[in-house]
Structure formats: structure tokens, C-alpha cells
Symmetry: C2
Subunit: 130 residues, 2 copies
């Protein structure tokens, strides 16, 4: 797997794990229907506890990114990730507002901020080409 964790980060491990998998889907490194490692093997691979992996998987399931078959295993959601709805837009704005507020205070122009966003989008698109 491509997953990299930072054990010094203040971000919880299960959150980092979620983000890594979501990023994998975004850059099409993981595609619909593809199998993910079992909670035990991934935990062993990453040197963390099985419950930490399970927590990440449960939340990814809850948010529609993956499917979990009780005795088969875990797969990226075959039907694709649910499209953004009103609630998601609201949540996204809640995330962006503090970030934009601080950027304004620190003298970043709107153009600079959007440019950074575009760079990140570019990074995901380049990731697609492997």
C-alpha cells in the first residue's frame, strides 16, 4: 500500500488513514470495487492496532466511500462515492471559512489562495497518470 502515517502529527491516526484512502480514490489509485486490506493485515503493515484501522474503515463506510462484506472483506464502493449534497456543501464551507479568514489576516490575496487550491487539484490530476 501507498499509505504513509505521521506518528508525530496531532491528527489522530485513524483520521490520517481515512485521508490517505480518500486521496487514493481521488487520484484514481483506488478504483470502484477494488479490494482493501483486511483490518488485521493493514494494522500489521502500518504497525498500529486493528481497532484503529477498524475505526477508519467504519467511518469511511458511514460516509459512503467503502462497502464492508461481513465475511468477505472491504472494497471501494462499487457504485462510486455519493455525490455532494446540501449537507456536504455546508460542511465544506464550515471547513473553508476559518482557513480563508486566517489567510485574509495574513495578507494572502484571493488570487493567491485560489492558486494554491488549483495547485492541489493539479497534484491529484497528475497522480491519475500514475
Amino acid at each position: 500500500m501507498f499509505i504513509q502515517l505521521d506518528f508525530e502529527s496531532k491528527k489522530p491516526i485513524y483520521t490520517q488513514l481515512k485521508h490517505e484512502i480518500i486521496a487514493g480514490i481521488a487520484r484514481k489509485d483506488l478504483s470502484a470495487g477494488e479490494a482493501l486490506p483486511s483490518v488485521r493485515s493493514l494494522a500489521a503493515d502500518l504497525g498500529i492496532n486493528l481497532h484503529t484501522v477498524n475505526k477508519a474503515y467504519q467511518q469511511l463506510k458511514q460516509e459512503g466511500f467503502i462497502l464492508i462484506h461481513r465475511q468477505k472483506g472491504v472494497v471501494i464502493h462499487p457504485d462510486g462515492v455519493p455525490e455532494a449534497g446540501e449537507d456536504y456543501y455546508a460542511e465544506l464551507k464550515e471547513t473553508l471559512r476559518p482557513s480563508i479568514a486566517e489567510s485574509i489576516c495574513r495578507g494572502l490575496s484571493e488570487e493567491e489562495y485560489l492558486s494554491i487550491c488549483q495547485d492541489i487539484f493539479k497534484g491529484f490530476k497528475e497522480g491519475e497518470k500514475k
Copy 2:
């Protein structure tokens, strides 16, 4: 004060408080040199503990938003907030990457995402006009 807290939120109160003050600066509701309430009076106003306010103030001081005079009080930094540096850009990208990854998964186009950012910028600019 204009500060609104959500006690049901998963976000810590001191974090919400920080964001509210930073947003106040961004929309120029708070300007350089302006005094902020004392830890005790703000805590009483908001119905929270003085240590919670103090924690927010300490972090805002650490990040250059405010100055704290030992026996005078708290003021918005008179010299303005420190400009964005390399470390800030890195931190900003770290915040945006997971957000953008999820948006891509949920079918948002780059244009839609940037449009949401622009809306938020617009909100702060309109806030300036009181």
C-alpha cells in the same frame, strides 16, 4: 461582542473562539490596536470558564494575532498579523488537501470548488462594509 459559540459542535470551544476572533479581524470588525475583553469578562459573557478563554488568547498570541500586556489587557496586534511564510503555506496546503480530495471523490469540479471559496471571500468583503 459578536461571538457566537455552538456548544453542540465537536470543535473545542477554545478553537471556535479563536476562529471567531480571526474572522472578526478578517472582516475588519476588529482592527489593529483594538482592545479585547478581559479573560474574565469574556468568559462570563459567553458562559464559559476563564481558562477556556485564556487558552484561546494564548494561542492567538502565539500565532501573532494579538498582544497581551500583563496588567493592561489584550489588544489586536498593533503591527498587524505576521505575513504568511513558507511554514504557513505548508500548513495551509495540509488543511486543503484532504478537503479537496473528498470534493473530487464526491464529483465536485475544480470550478465548483473554487466558486465556493470565492463566495466565502465575498462574505468577508461584504462584512467589511458593516
